[in-house]
């Protein structure tokens, strides 16, 4: 047995104090295998040791919540006896090291989190962040990472048979060395058939199902809990390899086995593999688990106990069955051609006991291993920011050209090249898929209802003010749902930050979480689960604070309202009006980024009360089927929203006339929230509803054929052809990829 030296402790990323705690829990020095087990369970990735204290501030309860944080996924009630299970998870570090497999297994991991709860996955969305594709130094690598990530997501999701229905993709230099891949998945189950990851019933067999265990992915969770250095490329063997066909078999077999009634508890083997699934299931059930590693199906010979326990081979599950009914479970897995082996049993002593070759190689109390991980109140000061507060002087030479630059910019341009590689329709539930509406809409065949879902993040805003930026992001995500007529019922979050051991980074995390807590509480959208990804730093260079939120909403009326104008001669109404902005609040906009190449000041001002009224108004208008199209104003402001609204199949444009005191650049491109552009044949009824909610709803113009014209009191600001803008919008991403 290897002796535990200080060096060995350090290579396991455990501090001296943490090691001392291990010794106290065990009452002795750990074995090598035990050290490995503790190191992955107590890694930042698995234990949330830096963030847990602050995550407690988030609201997690609500009238729709069936299951909050702590399980494999959160669950909300969607009516008629059905629930939706959903969560978002990051696969940032692996996707940098090996983009295709890193992203593919990110999809695989979150899908297992959903179906382990008994829910069949029906939708995936992803939030992606890359370095700029035309970055002078890193451009080629960024293009390769984007290509690899997108084809990895497509490969896994398409073969598995889950539609990828939406998401977002943003480019900033801070992601040059740290791309982000956050994958959201949602599944549907019957409310009375939810499964939990709990090992109960002393003497019940513990059954291993799915892929065989190999040496891949050992210490993946620890890798995801450290910064990148020049040597990080050598970690490629730590990235797992995905097999979506096997995952599809595992899905079908698990759902079918659940129907036998013989399954007591089930958990996927994701980060920290067999270690995490055994001790977490035991801890939740207040039981012990005794496993024999000789029985674990392996695809390589000579694997040590350490390797077997820490392997992150994909497409594996651990389940506890009712004693005596094993054969019913085995029969299902045989049908699907999968391994299913009884590897141990549930015990009453609370210990994770691991046997290998006739010896006990680890014996650890489950509960402290899973739940007593170190908890850190890391020091936090002022959030890191170097951007100036004061606005530079700027004046546009040509507003039409500015609009074209925005439509061609990485963040705003069409992402068709990405989403056409995803099967976004399989299972025939997608009523509004990518770029069709402000939120994706899926029908639930079983219940007759529909669900809307959206992902949002804005690191520019969050960099300028983590607290305000995060509130804006939550508000926008809820607004996206309101725009399609949906009522938000729950949310999931992915907190992507740099090194929490730096107080100015920790401050970003703390303020962002507090902002999220305030906004979620205000909009009554509880966080039912999520993921924290820290140490997104390479060579000391961290990412901007990048929280991402995914909100799920309920929709009574299935037929969707899209974002595109459909008919000419309709009234164009700007719910919420021209908005307010000043030069300081203009510094985080896409105009500042894409046209002025600068960043300054503060994010747009958000009036939460007004935002809530606006959302209620638009939800009512859309719900009453008074809007033919609806699109919220976000990146690029009014002008971009207007252009995007005109990119429908009919190329219906609009002629707009707005009275406002704002300078032209601000009027056209400011990103003040709480505004929605709609086209309607019934402007009076729209105005009446808006007035009832105390929301201004100026009729700013009329839809026309093929042209976009915007005027203010001083004259014409923009006049251009829809088709010309569309060409720029559609070709931009491919042009950048070709560079």
């Amino acid at each position: 047995m290897t002796a535990v030296s200080p060096e060995l402790i350090a290579t396991h990323q455990l501090t001296e104090a943490e090691y001392g705690k291990i010794v106290r829990i065990l009452g002795r020095e750990p074995s090598y295998t035990e050290l490995g087990i503790f190191s992955v369970m107590w890694s930042e990735h698995c234990s949330y040791k830096s963030s847990r204290l602050h995550l407690k501030k988030l609201p997690t309860r609500g009238r729709f919540v069936v299951q909050g944080p702590g399980e494999n996924a959160g669950i909300v009630d969607i009516g008629a006896g059905y629930v939706a299970a959903f969560k978002i998870e990051s696969h940032n570090h692996p996707s940098f090291i090996e983009p295709f497999q890193g992203a593919a297994t990110g999809v695989g991991g979150i899908l297992r989190d959903i179906f382990t709860m008994g829910a069949r996955p029906i939708a995936v969305m992803d939030a992606l962040r890359f370095g700029p594709l035309d970055d002078p130094v890193n451009g080629a690598r960024n293009r390769r990472i984007l290509g690899g990530v997108v084809s990895g997501i497509a490969h896994y999701g398409n073969c598995f048979g889950v539609p990828t229905v939406g998401g977002e993709c943003v480019f900033e230099a801070c992601y040059n060395g740290n791309p982000l891949v956050n994958v959201f998945a949602l599944g549907v189950a019957r409310k009375d058939e939810i499964f939990y990851a709990k090992a109960s019933g002393i003497g019940n067999p513990v059954i291993y199902v799915g892929a065989k265990t190999g040496r891949d992915g050992i210490h993946g969770a620890s890798m995801a809990s450290a910064e990148f250095t020049e040597e990080s490329k050598q970690k490629r063997p730590n990235v797992q390899v995905g097999d979506p066909f096997l995952e599809k078999l595992l899905l079908e077999a698990c759902l079918e086995a659940m129907q036998t009634g013989a399954i007591v508890g089930i958990q996927d083997m994701g980060a920290a593999g067999l270690t995490c699934s055994t001790c977490e299931m035991g801890s939740r059930g207040g039981t012990g688990i005794d496993i024999e590693l000789d029985r674990v199906p392996k695809r390589e010979s000579g694997m040590t106990a350490y390797e077997i326990m820490l392997s992150e081979s994909q497409e594996r599950m651990l389940l506890v069955a009712e004693k005596g009914r094993e054969e019913e479970v085995f029969r299902v897995f045989r049908k699907w051609g999968l391994d299913a082996v009884s590897v141990g049993q549930v015990t009453g002593d609370g210990l994770l006991r691991v046997r290998h070759h006739g010896e006990i190689v680890a014996e650890i109390p489950n509960q402290p291993l899973a739940d007593s991980a170190p908890l850190y109140d890391r020091p936090h000061t002022q959030p890191l920011r170097t951007a100036p507060m004061q606005a530079p002087a700027f004046a546009s030479q040509n507003l039409t050209r500015d609009l074209e630059m925005l439509l061609a910019s990485g963040d705003i341009c069409s992402k068709r090249w990405i989403w056409e590689q995803y099967d976004h329709q399989v299972r025939t539930n997608t009523l509004a898929g990518p770029a069709a509406a402000d939120a994706a809409i899926l029908r639930i065949k079983e219940s007759g209802a529909a669900l809307a879902m959206a992902l949002d993040g804005n690191a520019r805003y969050c960099y300028l003010s983590p607290r305000e930026g995060t509130k804006l992001m939550v508000a926008e995500c809820c607004r996206n749902l309101a725009v399609v007529g949906a009522e938000p019922v729950g949310a999931t979050n992915n907190l992507n930050f740099g090194n929490p051991e730096r107080p100015e980074i920790m401050a970003q995390l703390v303020e962002s979480v507090e902002g999220m807590a305030d906004a979620c509480r205000f909009f009554d959208v509880p966080i039912t689960g999520g993921n924290v990804s820290l140490y997104n730093e390479t060579l000391g260079e961290g990412i901007w604070p990048t929280p991402v939120v995914g909100v799920v909403g309920l929709l009574k009326n299935g037929a969707p309202v899209g974002l595109h104008f459909r008919n000419t001669g309709r009234s164009v109404v700007l719910l919420g009006g021209a908005g307010v902005c000043d030069a300081v609040r203009f510094g985080g906009t896409q105009y500042a980024k894409a046209v002025l190449h600068q960043l300054w000041g503060l994010p747009p001002a958000l009036d939460l009360e007004f935002e809530k009224r606006l959302q209620a108004a638009v939800r009512e208008i859309v719900g009453a089927r008074l809007a033919e199209s609806a699109h919220d104003l976000s990146d690029g402001g009014l002008a971009v929203a207007l252009a995007e609204s005109s990119f429908g199949p009919e190329s219906v444009g609009a002629e707009i006339d707005i009275a406002s005191d704002l300078p032209a650049e601000l009027l056209l491109f400011h990103e003040g929230p709480s505004r929605v552009l709609i086209s309607t044949a019934e402007p009076e009824r729209v105005a009446a509803i808006a007035a009832r909610h105390g929301v201004e709803a100026p009729r700013v113009g009329v839809t026309t054929e093929g042209e976009i014209v915007i005027r203010n009191s001083s004259g014409e600001l923009i006049r251009t052809q829809v088709e010309e803008l569309r060409r720029i919008f559609e070709e931009a991403l491919e042009n950048k990829l070709r560079a």
Partner: protein, 222 residues
């Protein structure tokens, strides 16, 4: 009419096809597992989209050896209606029930989008309810949907009116814009686009129903 929907372990459009013929068209439908030796009493067979056995080798290359495909071959040679959609089309060409092959898209990428299909013949049990030249809006979703065959085969397909659908804007490089073909006896059809995804008003197009409706109206085979 009773449809049998074949289920390979990696089929993932099986439920969609089942839903289209059952819920959207009101016909009977049942699933048939890939190791079945017989097809039972079904009147028509659908080979759905998906990744039959993972398709890590050539698409459909392993599926052609499955027990159910031997039954499908017998069913087809007895004149039964067989519709292969996407992966089902790939399997039918691998199994030799249809000529040609489906290779990697010319763009080398998976493509999911709605395309327009021109109906080239109505002399088939799959398009009898259409009119020649009728353009249908139906989605595609495939990485290996580029139809290829040697010139003589292509000429023969054209001469015998066995090209059923052509892409109006070819999305994958298919020879002569071919999106769907018929067997010599015209009772087997393969198409890359997904008619089952265009069978529900909520999904934006119901043009795909025309294929299933034609099958239902086809005279029963002896």
């Amino acid at each position: 009419m009773k449809f049998g929907v074949i289920v390979f372990p990696g089929s993932n459009c099986d439920h969609d096809a089942w839903y289209a013929v059952r819920e959207n068209l009101g016909q009977e439908a049942e699933f048939i597992w890939h190791d079945a030796d017989t097809l039972g009493d079904v009147d028509a067979v659908i080979l759905p989209g998906g990744f039959a056995y993972g398709d890590y080798l050539r698409c459909g290359a392993i599926a052609k050896f499955s027990p159910v495909m031997q039954a499908v071959k017998r069913f087809a040679s007895d004149g039964g209606l067989v519709l292969g959609i996407c992966n089902g089309f790939q399997i039918l060409v691998e199994a030799g029930l249809l000529p040609g092959a489906l290779v990697r898209n010319a763009g080398l990428k998976f493509v999911c989008r709605e395309v327009r299909l021109r109906t080239e013949t109505t002399d088939s049990p799959f398009t009898a309810a259409a009119t020649v030249g009728q353009v249908l809006r139906v989605p595609i979703a495939h990485g290996e949907g580029c139809y290829v065959a040697d010139e003589r085969t292509l000429d023969e397909l054209e001469a015998q009116g066995r090209v059923v659908f052509r892409y109006v804007d070819n999305p994958n490089g298919s020879a002569r814009d071919i999106a769907g073909v018929l067997s010599r006896e015209r009772n087997v059809m393969g198409m890359m686009p997904h008619p089952e995804r265009a069978s529900d008003p909520l999904m934006g197009s119901t043009d795909g129903l025309l294929v299933f409706r034609s099958m239902v109206s086809a005279p029963a085979h002896a």
